[in-house]
Subunit: 604 residues, 2 copies
């Protein structure tokens, strides 16, 4: 078993040294905080991870929720963990004091989501879903709903969910059919079915609060007819008691991974008595959801990073202990075997995992810092800049660790050989758990369409310009270190390749060739991601160099740590970033094979 | 549920049209066969797959073998299937008539292993293991052992296994410690432990025959001290009855996938009464095993192809039926949704799967044909040529479908979205099942060392020269078709890149930089594989073109089929083969990061 699911040292490096989270305390909103409070938060959640979450990580997979008497029964750890989240204020720590929050930076919030997910992804999901539901209510609901729900959600007494998907409606939300009939009692009567709703039935909390999309009767077809409702499993009656709200759990899915959290099928209104409470204005439901979507997508990305990270530490520990074989050229079988971490191919697989995990975490924290700055910077243009960067980078933060994380967790299995394939070791579970991430909160296909079809053109191309400027600044700062100059040059060349490919694709769009333009959005996103992660590695290597140069009194372990960052950066540039050259060939091709070829050619 | 796990039409195309299996009947050894018998064989095994195997594919995963009273209890289908294999003669159909075989070509044998694996990989494994054990005995054992075991194995009454791995000895077989003490009774007393032995305990057969590596007491350390023994679970006593041979199953592994077949831990000689019967000469055990290794590795590759193929058909069926969204630019939500196979990104994911599955099957059959030719060609130089090509290509046949198959089955999951993650659909099982293939019968790391460290230099570089010549011939034949000229040129350029990279790496070796030379063997194998699969796609496209040009009277479905081959070839060249350009950058780098960086930098 891995003893570490996340590296406290690496979190400190990224938060304090690379992104200087403490600099945020200069702003009014964060002024009560300090390096000490931030450190205390991270230490506390690491301890929660170690004490409460990681010990039941494999158990929750082995004994997934059961469906009994029309109810989902979950692991007892769920209630304990939600209670603890409520007590610690983790579900709304970023909210302002007036709302009951602690005005913690987003960077810190995403850091503790990362720690929770690394310790036990399925368990962490209950909290993230609840926080997400609470956020929607806080942002868009009227006071009465806020009074009824926020405290229960934020204390972890009630479970929150996001109820979007329907049996025939996954990515095309405009087609959803769950209906809401207005009454004169201040509520709507909801009727319909939802599927794939995480945490929508549970005995780990006293109630479930579904944030549900539905179409008010008479509303237009498509996305404009969709409204957002609070549809609790138990509503509060006039006596202030909970009564059943005709939200029936029809069953739970048996899944590849992410097994600790039930994915539910719901039927609303079997007895025509399911009440939904409108949030905000009619017809604005999808808009509200999408205003929360960036945060949800970053959460998914962070969850994927976390799983890849935990798998990496499990593999690292195994490879450090397991002895097998000898160095090349050593033929004498009487000599002792070496730990397999001595073999270059094992080091390659470990660096692959490390570079994906730590590179993606860095990008997620970079974007979190932008979100914090948007909140506090006085200058409007600056705020706009960071908003555009967040919009542009969210598909990358969500997708790169999800897709590359499959490779990373697969490499973790490979490091363990046959043991990696067995359930005594945790790596096969990470491999299963992470496979949900390219699917939920917008598939990789959707993210590819998003970045290419929408994001790179945002603000008349300003989003992309800001991105280029950030990279050029990083390249500039790397140039002063001899050991980084080649990498700085490589990143610049990669960026130029991206600009050419982007121009070529936008030209297709300008010619009205929309299908051709978007067909390889997923590959474009992959290329973009490699460059974005390369940028983050260069930033980390620059910081490591600066510290190594400045600090002659560094402890030996710190020296190793900073050098490891430079090695991993070199690995990423040589093994991963170079992959763009295959992608460039495809993305600049004039052959639109997947558009040209009709489906019938596959159906023979 | 997918209705097809393999495509009979594609098998016919490859066997008859691309590789002209019928041409083998011109040789004495195969002269009793004809197109009819070959077709009958394939039809029969397809029917076995549909009737016996595929119906229990998911069930055998859901209810894996249980370990009860020191025995593994397997699914009842195992006995039925092994009986059927025995009756049909499938376990030794390639043997000659005198040995009880049917003198069927290797091409046909690998085709039916493919069909079995596609229908139900775990079930097929029982047969492959038994055939492998029988083959070892036939090839190397004395007459007495043959008389006792071959008939029982070939009729499927007894289960065969390959017992190599030990608790601390995976890839470094030279370190194994299971011991054999000679007696004057004609047998050896075996003592030791083996782990990860597929099928080593089962109630699906009346006995288990372990082909086991052990070290005779007093033998030298390392690989030269290893001998091969038959170590049955029940030995035949003087009365001709079965009696327990002190081979104890200590337990079975709980695995990510491949769950229908038990992977056992064995203890031999707890009561000092485990008898082993020497096969061949002492000290030659590893050599014997390795003479069978090519076949075993091709089997693994074919198993991976089969899983990727079955996953592809499940995804294809789903995408053809599932409706979601509309074509880009269609904003009118009242228009009906289209089947998702109409979306270019879905077509891309299907072509990815198809190109990996059909390209790998093609290469496996190509190599099978070489094996058949080695058996029958009169000219020694020709036989040597094909032997060298087989040696060179086996790591590719084994590894490419295993590693790319992870991508392919992951894409199958992605095609199904959330449903792909659920156990109601079979794709998540293929994703789990295929993950064993980069591990067993030599990990991907071992295969990378093999091709780079041994195979490309084989026959003083002749193996590589023959490979180049085969590709040049294919390129030549493609040049006469206008629609293939660009691809022919691309393959030529890729081949030249491979030759440059190979020369660069061999130069490192010549300089004595052995670790640097071998460090990226896995990446070299990946590059080599992309080019080898590109070659196979070009061959298929050439054949499709030839038939389309010749046959104006082709049926519509055949036309679609041949055009689909050309589309898939174009996909592979544009999306997959171009990946070599990233690999070339890395493989020609002078920075040996994974050699230079000591392990301690990862351990902070």
């Amino acid at each position: 078993m891995a003893e570490r699911f996340a590296n406290r040292r690496d979190i400190r490096f990224l938060l304090e040294e690379v992104f200087d989270v403490n600099s945020l305390t200069q702003y009014e909103y964060f002024k009560d905080h300090s390096a000490e409070t931030f450190n205390m938060v991270v230490d506390t959640v690491m301890k929660m991870g170690s004490d409460l979450m990681y010990p039941v990580f494999q158990e929750m997979d082995k004994y997934p929720p059961r469906y009994e008497n029309s109810q989902a029964k979950v692991h007892p750890a769920v209630r304990i963990f939600l209670d603890e989240c409520g007590r610690g204020g983790w579900l709304n720590a970023d909210w302002n004091y007036a709302e009951g929050g602690q005005q913690l930076p987003n960077m810190i919030k995403f850091t503790y989501w990362f720690v929770f997910s690394a310790a036990n992804y399925a368990l962490g999901a209950y909290a993230q879903l609840t926080a997400g539901a609470a956020n929607l209510i806080r942002e868009f609901a009227g006071q009465e709903i806020k009074d009824q729900y926020l405290d229960k959600l934020c204390t972890g007494k009630w479970q929150g969910t996001m109820a979007l998907t329907e049996p025939d409606v996954g990515s095309s939300l405009g087609d959803l059919t769950t209906s809401a009939r207005e009454t004169d009692q201040g509520y709507y009567l909801i009727k319909g079915k939802k599927i794939f709703i995480s945490g929508a039935d549970t005995d780990g909390a006293d109630n479930t609060v579904n944030m549900m999309l539905a179409r008010i009767q008479g509303a237009p077809a498509g996305t404009k007819g969709i409204s957002l409702f609070v549809v609790p499993k138990y509503r509060i009656n006039e006596a202030g008691e909970l009564e059943y709200n005709d939200v029936h759990c029809d069953g739970i899915e048996h899944k590849l991974g992410y097994r600790g959290c039930p994915i539910c099928q719901l039927t609303m209104g079997e007895n025509n008595d399911c009440r939904g409470y409108l949030v905000g204005k009619p017809g604005r439901g999808l808009g509200y959801m999408f205003q929360m979507m960036n945060e949800e997508r970053i959460n998914v990305g962070i969850g994927a990073v976390a799983k890849a990270t935990a798998a990496y530490y499990a593999a690292l520990e195994y490879c450090s202990q397991r002895k097998q074989g000898r160095r090349p050229g050593v033929k004498d079988q009487s000599l002792p075997m070496v730990a397999i971490i001595e073999h270059p191919d094992i080091k390659r697989m470990l660096l692959l995992q490390k570079s994906i995990a730590e590179g993606s975490l860095s990008l997620a924290l970079q974007v979190s810092k932008y979100i914090d700055l948007i909140k506090v910077l006085p200058d409007e243009e600056e705020r706009e800049k960071y908003s555009l960067l967040v919009e542009l980078l969210v598909p990358v933060v969500k997708t790169y660790p999800a897709e590359a994380g499959i490779m990373a967790t697969s490499a973790a299995i490979q490091c363990l050989g046959g043991y990696g394939y067995c359930q005594d070791f945790p790596v096969e579970q990470y491999y299963r758990d992470i496979r949900i991430d390219p699917i939920h909160e917008g598939t990789t296909g959707i993210q590819g369409q998003d970045i290419l079809g929408r994001k790179i053109s945002l603000g008349n191309g300003k989003a992309m310009q800001y991105f280029v400027a950030e990279l050029l600044a990083a390249i500039q700062s790397a140039h002063k270190f001899e050991n980084l100059q080649a990498m700085a040059a490589q990143l610049l060349q990669s960026l130029n390749e991206l600009r050419s490919v982007t121009a070529y694709l936008l030209d297709l769009s300008a010619q009205g060739k929309i299908e051709e333009f978007l067909a390889d959005g997923v590959l474009y996103l992959e290329m973009f991601s490699l460059i974005a992660i390369g940028w983050q590695w260069l930033l980390q290597a620059v910081k490591a160099n600066e510290i190594l140069q400045a600090g002659s009194s560094l402890r030996e372990n710190d020296k190793l740590f900073y050098h490891s960052k430079i090695y991993t950066c070199r690995y990423f540039f040589s093994y991963e970033l170079n992959k763009i050259y295959g992608l460039v060939k495809r993305l600049s091709s004039t052959e639109a094979i997947t558009v040209e070829m009709e489906a019938k050619f596959l159906q023979v």
